[in-house]
Every structure is written in structure tokens, then in C-alpha cells.
């Protein structure tokens, strides 16, 4: 079974000094998917039991990239987080780790889009520096999640990945 950290290691291996544009693009894409699968796995573990086999896998497939980025928006600042948790009547302490994670997720998602679809790169964004930045961001997400995952805010965060759009009802 593919593990999120395998994708991260794969991304790192692509970035050697003589690497080429295709390596940089694949490293960025793998970095994003490492983070995406880290989080979808955590969401599935929170909301689905292990038995019956396959349910967690189906749960992961429900998650949508753009909706996840949108759901992370309240976690980007103290002010928006407190407004959000108060409105939900789910009081939690703000987490700097979840803020870092949410920022990096949005930036990696945007970079992944460029890496996979914008072959012309008219802005001149694609280079080794850009790719190493993305791999480092993904590493930081793994570290931030490791620190944050047992917090109440992290439980709310994972629930938001699935239920965010429904909570307005």
C-alpha cells in the first residue's frame, strides 16, 4: 500500500544538483500528493472504522482538493479560527502547527497545479529552488501534523475536511 511518506522520499530523491525540469515538476507534484495522502489517511482514520475492509479507502476518495483548501481557511489565523470554532460551538485552542500546515497545503496545491498543467511556465517559476521549497514545505507539514495530531483543534480540522460545507446548515 502506498504510504504518504514514500511520496515525500521520492520527491526528495528527484532533487539532485543536475536534475532537470521534469524532475522538479514531478518532485513538486509528489510533495503535494504526499501531504494530500497524509491528511486523507488521517481523516479516514478519524471517521471510519477499519472493519469492514475497504471503508477507509472509500472515505479517502470522498475528499476533494479544492474543498480541503477552502476548509483549511479558518485555520490560517487566530481571528478566523476563533470566529469559526465559536460559530460551531466547538471551542478549541488555536494551533500554530495547523496554521503552518494549512498555509503549506494551499501553496503546495497551487504549485502542483503549475507543475502538472502549466507546461509553458511564462512566469519563470519552475526551477530547482521552487522544487526544493515545495519539498521542504511538505516535510514541514509532516512535522507540524506530528506535533498537532493529538490536539482538539486537529480533531476539528479533520472533521472540517469532510463536513465543512455542511456545517452552514
Amino acid at each position: 500500500m502506498l504510504q504518504a511518506k514514500d511520496l515525500l522520499e521520492h520527491a526528495s530523491r528527484l532533487l539532485i544538483p543536475k536534475s532537470k525540469e521534469v524532475d522538479w515538476r514531478r518532485a513538486v507534484s509528489a510533495s503535494y500528493y504526499a501531504v494530500f495522502h497524509l491528511l486523507t489517511g488521517a481523516v479516514a482514520s478519524q471517521v471510519s472504522p477499519v472493519i469492514p475492509v475497504g471503508l477507509q479507502g472509500r472515505t479517502r476518495r470522498v475528499l476533494e482538493h479544492r474543498a480541503m483548501k477552502t476548509a483549511m481557511r479558518p485555520f490560517l489565523s487566530k481571528g478566523s479560527f476563533h470566529q469559526y470554532s465559536n460559530a460551531l460551538h466547538v471551542p478549541c485552542a488555536f494551533s500554530d502547527d495547523l496554521r503552518e500546515l494549512s498555509e503549506a497545503f494551499g501553496e503546495l496545491q497551487d504549485a502542483r497545479h503549475l507543475a502538472d498543467y502549466d507546461v509553458a511556465d511564462l512566469q519563470g517559476t519552475v526551477d530547482l529552488s521552487w522544487a526544493t521549497d515545495c519539498v521542504d514545505k511538505a516535510r514541514r507539514v509532516f512535522a507540524a501534523w506530528d506535533r498537532a495530531k493529538s490536539s482538539e483543534a486537529a480533531t476539528l480540522f479533520l472533521a472540517a475536511m469532510i463536513f465543512d460545507a455542511k456545517w452552514a446548515k
Binding site: 494551499g106 501553496e107 497551487d110 511564462l122 519552475v126 526551477d127 529552488s129 521549497d133
Partner: protein
């Protein structure tokens, strides 16, 4: 937190912040009682506005970020791989339409980026970001990057 003064001059851009309209300062004068009045032109539709007070105006977000960085950066130590004093602030959109303020630094020509160096640079960005964040609207994405000389040149050409 960085405190920025607001004293717009001719040629600068300002924002009418209740509606997010960006205007260019065409002229300014000071009344006998010391009030600053501006002559403005909308960059969206070219409309002219005369004798506008500063009450509902501020610098646009990218200008606030640039001015804040001009204030902060001389006081912090830069990563040794960055060209001294060189940075550019620009606005664009992420692929999903989220407005973004992008701050680019420039690497010295002989620097070979690595994930380890990127870690140091990201730590540097985090320090800056926490100081600047209060100046940015919640809807704006603030992002930092280090550009290589090669890609900076190709983007400019």
C-alpha cells in the same frame, strides 16, 4: 507589529478600502487647517475624484507589504545565499482565483538550492510573515519564494 505611516504622494497607488477600488494619486494639496486633499483617478474605469480626504483610503495590500518589508528587512539577518537587499513584491492570483501577494527574493548566482537550504529560507520567511500578517486582509494569500537568477531572467525577457 509594524506601524506604517500613511502619507500618499503623487504617482502612488491608494485603495478606497470599503470597496477595494485602487486609485492613482494625480495631485495633492493641503488646506489652511492642515487637511490633505487628493486628486485621484480610478485604475479600474479612469473616473476622476477631486478633493478626497484620507479617511477611507489606505495603501493597497502589496504596497503595505513592501513598505513593511523595507522597515523590517534592514533589521534582520538575511540568508547568506540571498542577494543583499533585493526583493520584489507583486500581486497575482492562485489557480483557483485566490488573490496572492508574492514576495520574491533572489539567490546569488553561484547558489545551488537544496531542501536543507530551503528549510532555512522557509524559517526566514516565517519570521517575516508573522510580522507582516496583520497588515494583510484575511482574503489575501501571502507567499514568499527564492528565485534563481536563470528563471528571474527568463521571466523578465
Amino acid at each position: 507589529m509594524v506601524e506604517l505611516d500613511f502619507n500618499p504622494q503623487e504617482g502612488e497607488r491608494v485603495e478606497f478600502y470599503p470597496q477595494g477600488i485602487i486609485l492613482e494619486v494625480l495631485g495633492r494639496h493641503i488646506t489652511a487647517d492642515g487637511q490633505v486633499l487628493l486628486r485621484l483617478r480610478s485604475l479600474q474605469d479612469g473616473r476622476l475624484f477631486e478633493n478626497v480626504t484620507l479617511d477611507w483610503l489606505r495603501y493597497p495590500a502589496d504596497v503595505r507589504v513592501r513598505r513593511a518589508l523595507e522597515h523590517i528587512l534592514p533589521k534582520v539577518s538575511w540568508p547568506e545565499e540571498f542577494q543583499d537587499g533585493r526583493f520584489v513584491v507583486k500581486t497575482d492570483e492562485m489557480y483557483d482565483g485566490t488573490p496572492r501577494i508574492m514576495v520574491n527574493f533572489y539567490l546569488k548566482p553561484d547558489v545551488i538550492p537544496s531542501v536543507e537550504k530551503a528549510g532555512d529560507w522557509n524559517a526566514f520567511y516565517s519570521t517575516l510573515k508573522r510580522q507582516i500578517e496583520p497588515l494583510v486582509d484575511t482574503g489575501d494569500w501571502l507567499q514568499f519564494a527564492a528565485k534563481e537568477q536563470r528563471s528571474a531572467l527568463s521571466a523578465a525577457s
